[in-house]
Symmetry: C2
């Protein structure tokens, strides 16, 4: 079950090197209003600890690796992101926590909505209320 | 003149590590239809060698570093991308070549349009005809 939430995208390699592409509303079933990347993560940090009301997200470790713990109430998963072509799609109801960041990890996140603090569910009990 | 084409975005650091954000039509004056990243580039590779008719792009070295040669006929620039918070915006009429990739370079590109082979100007003489 480890990686059943991930999709594998093509690695477009040639004699120059490698390249991978994500297109909005094609490979990924939504548009990218916000792009952010997490890097320089300190040792033993675990971050995230939230779900959303509406935001959908794509997570890719474009450098290094990390793990993602997911809980959508029906199931819990621990997913390893360790390749630029391994893409994890998070639904709004995925409570997520990222951990085990390698020192060179760059975790790229493509989000379907602009930043809105009202769209974060940071309290686990509230998460259960909303999605159970 | 080296970096006049770049904008510096905020580094949102705290005790966990670092994070940087790009929002469509806010910091960046267009939407992101296509996201790709160039990595594992071999030594001494120079790539790009094209301009566009309509695609606008954002380039960021989210890991490592590379250089970008730009030519919009009016001026030529050699820009160093070496920070996750240093953002280069390319207009369609920017002929661009990327080189000097560090072995750990991950060059993230956010493009305003989906892939369309008709939107590439790969012949320099044609580029001059179109934009001179």
């Amino acid at each position: 079950m480890l990686d059943s939430r991930c999709i594998q995208i093509d690695e477009l390699g040639d004699e120059r090197g490698l390249l991978a592409v994500l297109e909005a509303n094609k490979i990924i079933p939504f548009g990218f209003e916000r792009v952010f990347y997490i890097y320089g993560t300190k040792e033993n940090v675990r971050r995230g600890y939230h779900a959303h009301y509406k935001t959908r997200q794509v997570l890719i470790a474009v450098s290094g690796s990390c793990k993602v713990y997911l809980d959508n109430i029906k199931r819990k998963d621990d997913i390893t992101l360790d390749s630029p072509t391994k893409v994890l799609i998070l639904e709004p109801n995925d409570w997520h926590e990222m951990y085990n960041f390698s020192s060179d990890c760059v975790l790229l996140v493509l989000a379907s909505h602009l930043y809105d603090p009202q769209d974060y569910i940071k309290d686990y009990n509230r998460f259960i209320e909303v999605y159970a």
